[in-house]
Symmetry: C2
Subunit: 203 residues, 2 copies
């Protein structure tokens, strides 16, 4: 792994856990196993390092687009449950040291201070919401859903996952037991909330 990439990865990690102000170039260098001066040779300034971290991960996030593409199963409740599990799994995947959660934290924290960061958070959310909205829109036209607003519905769905994932980063696992079970419970409520009642069809 090249020094530049090691630094970028380390920087994301340290920025996410200490915040931009709290992160020191020394710690980033330690984390990356490079000399501190290498950071400045490659990235000129801490400010610019942040910029590059965002650029790199923005690209990575865009590919995440796929995560929100629903593999339709004819059954909406099952669709949502599977999607939910997929999202929840991704937001706590330890293999990639939970890059998405680190990014999420950074975007939320630094977004309040830096418009460029807020702009990224905005566009990421817009992407997620668009994807989900499309799905709801289609199901609405299929006559399977009650009279709901697709965008608001998408936001509500996503809120649960982002919030619990943020919460888990702070209070780890004290509210929630088994994650899959929790997701099942949530998506069950959610699906019932938007579907035309089964009874209506039967009756």
């Amino acid at each position: 792994m090249k020094a530049e990439d090691k630094i970028l990865d380390a920087a994301l990690k340290v920025f996410a856990s200490e915040g931009f102000t709290g992160a020191t170039t020394r710690r980033i260098a330690e984390e990356a196993n490079v000399a501190e001066v290498t950071i400045f040779r490659k990235f000129q300034s801490k400010e610019n390092l942040l910029k590059e971290v965002l650029i790199k991960n923005r690209a990575e996030i865009s590919e995440l687009d796929i995560l929100f593409r629903i593999e339709s199963d004819t059954d909406i409740a099952t669709d949502l449950c599977n999607l939910g599990k997929k999202i929840a799994k991704d937001l706590r995947d330890k293999k990639k040291e939970s890059k998405h959660r680190m990014l999420m934290f950074m975007l939320f924290e630094e977004g309040r201070r830096r418009p460029e960061v807020a702009e990224i958070l905005t566009s990421v959310f817009q992407m997620y919401i668009s994807r989900l909205s499309e799905y709801f829109e289609v199901q609405l036209q299929n006559g399977k859903l009650r009279n709901i607003n697709p965008r608001s519905t998408a936001l509500a769905f996503i809120s649960y996952f982002v919030h619990t994932s943020l919460l888990r980063g702070v209070v780890d696992d004290c509210f929630m037991g088994d994650i899959n079970e929790e997701v099942e419970r949530f998506t069950d409520i959610f699906a019932h909330g938007i579907l035309k009642t089964a009874d209506t069809k039967v009756g």
Copy 2:
């Protein structure tokens, strides 16, 4: 207003917007309209100032308990909608410069770094969830709800409000139109998600 209180209020404001590390005692002093040295005379250290800010606002937050007490209206959908509007209103109340949102941001941000802060966030959430759970529990025994888990349901409900409130602090209002309308849409879905279907009763 006494210097001590001016400092505590200013500190919450600055801590919430800049983070603990990013907040300087100079800025807090400016914000409070006191000399910087007064901060140290009253609070000894920045660290200790944070502690006192938490103590003061923890007491204030405990009173918030009332917010989650549901004024029952016999109709669960209406109950939840009213509760939602009450929460949403409180989380953006400008009169108190949105103290709750400032606190929320601070608890989420600093909670990841300071166990004492995480502990507060935990207990605040536990209080909220308990209150709501009780309500769901009762309605469950009244036979009005589907077979849901009260605690998971409470968490899901709260997630929407915390998340949208956090989001609003970063991307202000770009996803959501009129807040009350959004809340109505969400609580409509949510109520339908947990209630025994109307059709069942009719048919």
